[in-house]
Subunit: 149 residues, 2 copies
Amino acid sequence: MDPKVMDEILQRLQKEGIKITQQRKKIIEIIYDQQNHINADTLYAILKKQKAGVSRATIYRTLDLLVEKRYIQKMDFGEGRCVYEFKLGQPHHDHMKCLRCGKVIEFNDHIIELRQHTICQNHKFYPMSHVMQIYGICHECREKEKKNL
Amino acid sequence: MDPKVMDEILQRLQKEGIKITQQRKKIIEIIYDQQNHINADTLYAILKKQKAGVSRATIYRTLDLLVEKRYIQKMDFGEGRCVYEFKLGQPHHDHMKCLRCGKVIEFNDHIIELRQHTICQNHKFYPMSHVMQIYGICHECREKEKKNL
DNA sequence: GTCAGTGCAAACTTTTTGCACAGTA
DNA sequence: TACTGTGCAAAAAGTTTGCACTGAC
């Protein structure tokens, strides 16, 4: 992972009186390096493979901490478990999920973002974050279905 | 509940070879009459109070069925349990959730809906449903916070 | 040295499942 | 009557918690 990013996170955490532990560093690193979304269990498996010896409890506690401090984002695609992704310094984006193959496509659209702000203003609602997921069928799966007809 | 709506649902279910049971009717009725979102446990409590004697297993199985058949919508506000709301014949809407008081505000915006379709077209993605939740602070909670400063 | 952080195992919460029985079509 | 649907209780799955120990500052 980019050492600058890690340093920034560690410094920020330290400023808030949060202790920098080996476990926390490793968890941050794995989430950062992970291309896709990651869930608690996968994180646990990776740490186990690395023989890092980090317990599940610590993983959940660290994930909660990082979500609270806004370094990572927690999402739920209705799979019965939550997934996380690195957020700091990353541009905001939303997701499309294919109901056939499970693929997740990321997108970012400033018109939607702007419109959300307008809607919030109309409702005198002060937005802090949002999630948006579109469920449907991706191009590849539709092509496959066409062929099989 | 509106008997026409109930009839429509029952007829549609029957057409698909799904049996109409007392349990299913009661569950549909409660979700329909519920103003707010409802979760499986609350549904169970209401049924218990009515001495309807519907088991949790049946509730979950019926909820799954109704979601699949698109009569109700399942949502997750990150509370560790899912909530459901009646969908058939209701205009689509999204949600704002206040992080202070937990209130959920519904809104519908055709600009966002249109824009979502455009984005999907650009990605050759065929949308079937979507969820959008904005998290933040509602007007009332912000007013309260101002006073307490 | 102090106290926040960790590991472990047990507890908890929500949801799912197997199987015998019930009730709809 | 023939299955689909149900209830029950047990299991599964994900997450949280209590408590004694560890390690960062």
